[in-house]
Amino acid sequence: MIQVEDLYKKFGKNEVLKGLDLNIDKGGIFAVLGPNGSGKTTLIKSILGMVVPNKGSIAVSGISIKKNWKYRHEIDYLPQIANFPGNLKVKELIRMIKDLRQMPSEEERLIELFQLEPFLNKKLATLSGGTKQKVNIVLAFMFDCPLLILDEPTTGLDPASLIHLKALIQQEKNRGKTILITSHIMHFVAEVADEIIYLLEGKIYFKGTIEQLKTKTNQTDFEHAISAIASTPTDA
């Protein structure tokens, strides 16, 4: 599904990715974790083509993404901070994204699920953070793409919506999709993730299941395992 080879990225003098290799060839939920500034968002944005790597190659579904944009038809993306053009109405935004992607979509079901009907005719600038995030989720889940990238999907969500979100993620997983998630909420990660991809200093420090992680760090608690991993000598 995703092949990343020897990826380097510098912002000014700040080297964020230093020869990152990643290979995801099956479906499932992959949590991309790491301390702040470890390059999670950079990795995701590189896969999306929003960040142009200095070196290395990325392939999605076997196609190199360099000088290519059509592969993004395969990706649904939920950005970290839901910043939308403020003077658009929710309805218009959804219609616009549909118009831009020209794919079959199922936004009605999602709108109903997250109870967004009352907001459809409101301008995005007037919405609260949580509502914006719901709109964000609708936009990300309404198409049927084999790769789903969720950057901090839980931000601002109320408990009910969080449950809906988890259900949605499971549902997509069951359809055989590959889902990349970043999150700071470890309960959430522990609950949904099949595999952990841990980034440290611009490289993959650990890749494996939660169980493997716990074994490796000799911790019983996932959260402790995560915080301990950085101090554990690597054998990967």
Binding site: L48, W69, R72, H73, P85
Partner: protein, 260 residues
């Protein structure tokens, strides 16, 4: 690209500022024509305004739109759309809506005044064409500045400085160099210096219509060739086109390399 253009364009057409811009020109056109009742004078006044104001508005609007639509841009970047399409679409949306405001805002009063029967129609069309070119050029320049500066305040500052430089300072330096080196033959130099500033270029284009009598008073052969024949018009138009294409090209080029 057309879709992005469409959305940017609609977005702008609905925004308050486009209306303000449009109404400003509409009002200006009506005041100039119907209070003054003098097409020739109106054209001269308009020229002064177009040369100064259109670049300023294009610059400020361009920078403002770019920074304000950052979210929109990022949303689009994750979509299966070519990068150049996103930026070209947005650019054309801004430049297009500004041009439309200008052309309609000034065009309507002039048409109502009965311009088609007046012999000032050619001067006036030239004015609008020049205004359109200036809008395209300065919006493109401001997009370039915004693209290269993450910091809004810096970007805004640079854009206004660029305008100030091209609208006023450049001519001041130009004049000083002409006076300092007046012992030398300067006609090629002065024409070349004109070419490197789109505002001067547009001004020259309009001078060709309004002040040809004065321009032909100068003795230099290069001047005579330039102003006395169609050469001046053709070269100026070509240069303006080049001035439009180059920043757009850089915009596309830079946007491909930029990280978001």
């Amino acid at each position: 690209m057309l879709k992005i253009l469409k959305y940017s364009f609609y977005d702008l057409i609905r925004s308050r500022w486009s209306y303000v811009y449009f109404l400003f020109y509409l009002l200006l056109g009506f005041v100039l024509l119907f209070l003054n009742n003098d097409v020739s004078k109106a054209v001269i006044t308009l020229m002064n305004i177009i040369i100064v104001l259109v670049p300023l508005i294009g610059t400020i609007f361009g920078v403002m739109y770019y920074y304000n639509s950052k979210e929109f841009t990022e949303l689009l970047l994750a979509q299966p759309i070519k990068r150049s399409s996103i930026f070209l679409g947005q650019y054309l949306g801004v430049a297009g809506s500004l041009t439309l405001s200008l052309v309609l805002g000034l065009g309507i009063p002039f048409v109502l005044y009965g311009l088609f029967k007046s012999d000032a129609i050619f001067d006036f069309s030239l004015l609008l064409v020049t205004g359109a070119f200036l809008t395209m050029i300065f919006t493109a320049l401001s997009f370039n500045i915004a693209l290269s500066n993450e910091n809004r305040i810096k970007g805004f500052g640079y854009a206004v400085l660029l305008w100030l430089f091209l609208a006023v300072i450049y001519d001041g330096l130009f004049l000083m160099s002409l006076i300092v080196f007046k012992e030398y033959p300067l006609d090629s130099f002065s024409l070349a210096a004109t070419m490197f500033n789109p505002i001067d270029l547009s001004r020259t284009l309009i001078l060709l219509k309004l002040d040809i009598s004065a321009l032909l008073g100068y003795t230099g052969a290069v001047f005579k060739q330039f102003f006395g024949t169609n050469q001046g018009l053709i070269i100026s138009m070509l240069m303006l086109t080049l001035w439009t294409i180059l920043p757009i090209w850089r915009l596309v080029f830079k946007s491909k390399k930029k990280d978001f």
